[in-house]
């Protein structure tokens, strides 16, 4: 979490903190050795190795994440809450593999460790008029209200994709480092602060209630049919009226 100090839009002197919370860090690396997945599965806990698959999946408690290990030595780690935790998880999995494969005497390094994706969210203390943003920056943004609720801003540097919502929530995906995430949020703040508005004043169209289409005439006819019944109250279902032998018209 990177705390920020920002002046609120209304120009008041109070300063509000906006915290960027990093929800997910995806990374991968490669180990310079062939991993015997079955041996690894038998000697470690919290893992799952299908006979059919070539992947061993593992779950770690500290830091909490999912790990996928391949035969070739490639390892993917998903679910850490920070870059440092991701690195720590990577090293601990690497160490475990080294121990189980019996290569504790050799030096085993994590090759090509790289963070693929960081997902972070942030909430601006004001609402945003995203259709106006879309109108002003048509090249960088994509806003299709029928498809997604938020506006998508594709940034080239830092390389990230930002979803902006009318409530002021910002979701950054595709960033490759925490520094990139904070840069992206800063930039977006710069663009978007001209379009802020009071959250309570955002007009949300009433949710469309979908009513089934009823053919009015037809429904009336249906209702009439059920007003059967003799005056005596004997035949309530109207069966005798349908099967009326006396007045039957045989038109076959």
């Amino acid at each position: 979490m990177l705390p920020w100090m920002m002046n609120t839009a209304a120009g008041s002197n109070s300063e509000s903190y906006m915290t960027i919370s990093i929800n997910n860090v995806v990374c991968n690396y490669s180990l310079p050795m062939h991993v015997d997945l079955r041996k690894f599965a038998l000697n470690s806990w919290n893992c799952s190795y299908d006979r059919t698959g070539s992947i061993l999946t593992k779950q770690k408690r500290h830091p909490g994440c999912h790990v996928k290990v391949y035969n070739s030595g490639k390892v993917y780690i998903v679910g850490c809450k920070s870059e440092a935790a991701s690195r720590q998880a990577a090293r601990s999995v690497g160490r475990e593999i080294q121990k189980i494969m019996g290569k504790t005497d050799q030096k085993v390094c994590l090759r090509k460790f790289r963070i693929n994706n960081i997902l972070a969210t942030c909430k601006f203390p004001f609402g945003i008029l995203i259709d106006q943003v879309n109108r002003k920056y048509p090249k960088e943004t994509y806003y299709e209200p029928e498809l997604t609720v938020g506006l998508i801003w594709r940034m080239t540097e830092p390389k990230a994709s930002v979803r902006i919502h009318t409530t002021g929530t910002i979701v950054v995906t595709g960033a490759t480092s925490e520094a990139d995430v904070s840069l992206a949020v800063e930039k977006i703040y710069g663009y978007v602060k001209d379009f802020q508005c009071d959250i309570s004043k955002i007009h949300h169209p009433a949710p469309r209630k979908r009513k089934p289409v009823i053919n009015e005439e037809f429904s009336n006819i249906k209702r009439q049919r059920y007003e059967f019944g003799d005056d005596d109250g004997e035949d309530e279902t109207g069966v005798d009226q349908i099967f009326d032998d006396e007045n039957e018209i045989n038109d076959f």
Partner: protein, 108 residues
Amino acid sequence: MSTIHYTMYRSTTIGSTLEQTLEDFVNDGSITDPAAKRVLLNFDKAVNTILATHIKNRFTFKAKKLRAYRFCDNVWTFVMEEAEVKDPTKNQHAINRMKIVACDASRK
């Protein structure tokens, strides 16, 4: 004996007594060794099919925490803590640590 069944039921009380009896017979000389092996294979088949189809009694359990799990070679291993086991006579047993090794039941 075209199908192979799990041989893990040979370590149960009934399985181990059968094995001991067969061993005594073979040592006496009343039964040949391959015949004893054939009996054990029959036992495997019988136990597996009856357990899958005829047995209705169940033990249920609920544990506070799943400490560890493993799935390898179609065998699940669970280690749980603070389990409460209910047997078919509705008695409850509290177990501190429980390890479950489970084979796939659908395999013939």
